[in-house]
């Protein structure tokens, strides 16, 4: 199981804070997004926004990153704190 978290405007657009995905082998973030869209077709226009950032186990990484069961993946727009 992979736990996927959403933050900021993305969370609001998806109307979802987190989603669990069952996978049987490592997949890339790009593949993970496609699995999410299969489950929720309306998410397509939000998940492929090029500005979106990715963190795996709380470290920033690219869409090429492989993730496995047990990983925590977070998708979010550019940060705007401070």
């Amino acid at each position: 199981m992979i736990n996927v978290l959403f933050f900021g405007q993305l969370k609001e657009s998806l109307q979802c804070e987190n989603s669990q995905l069952a996978i049987d082998k490592p997949i890339t973030i790009a593949q993970l997004k496609e699995l999410l869209v299969e489950k929720n077709p309306s998410w397509e226009k939000y998940l492929f926004d090029k500005q979106l950032l990715v963190a795996v186990n709380q470290s920033m990484c690219s869409s090429l990153q492989l993730v496995c069961a047990g990983d925590e993946v977070a998708l979010f727009p550019p940060v705007t704190g401070g």
Partner: protein
């Protein structure tokens, strides 16, 4: 504890005392405080709402402090960042730094704010009367980072 993330407001004095008390090594204390201001792109803001990615924010801020301590000789550092619903005039963020020398304290405080703005996992929503909108990342914040690339050879004087 150097980094605090909380709903609760902070007392400026308490933060300043944390930096300055029983600290006879450091002659310079620089603080930055960010407040909710009334206008944004011409509209009247009534409040900000801040959310963050718990855990990740903490370690990103710890890392920014570590980077700052590598570049400058710093004594104490404090980052206090609030989350939740913050009406006009409320304090959002405090960054405080002590050093033997004022130039290092100024640089480190600004460095921490510049990296916090660009890297720390906070998201901000502006509330207006009757509407709201997510704040978009600013090009000027990204541009602010470039000064920390250029000055690496001269900053430590």
């Amino acid at each position: 504890m150097s980094v605090i993330i909380a709903h609760k407001d902070f007392d400026h004095t308490q933060q300043y005392n944390y930096l300055s008390e029983e600290n006879s090594n450091d002659g310079a204390v620089v603080t930055f405080t960010g407040l909710v201001r009334e206008f944004s792109s011409g509209d009247n803001v009534t409040a900000l709402e801040l959310e963050h990615y718990p855990g990740m924010t903490q370690s990103l801020l710890d890392d920014i402090i570590t980077q700052a301590k590598k570049r400058w000789q710093l004594g104490r550092v404090r980052i206090y960042h609030r989350i939740g619903y913050l009406p006009i005039g409320e304090q959002i963020v405090f960054v405080g730094v002590t050093s033997k020398h004022r130039a290092e304290a100024f640089s480190a405080a600004e460095f921490i704010m510049d990296f916090l703005k660009n890297q720390a996992t906070f998201w901000k929503k502006e509330h207006f009367s009757g509407s709201s909108r997510w704040v978009q990342a600013k090009q000027s914040d990204k541009a602010a980072l470039t000064k920390w690339q250029k000055t690496s050879s001269t900053e430590s004087q």
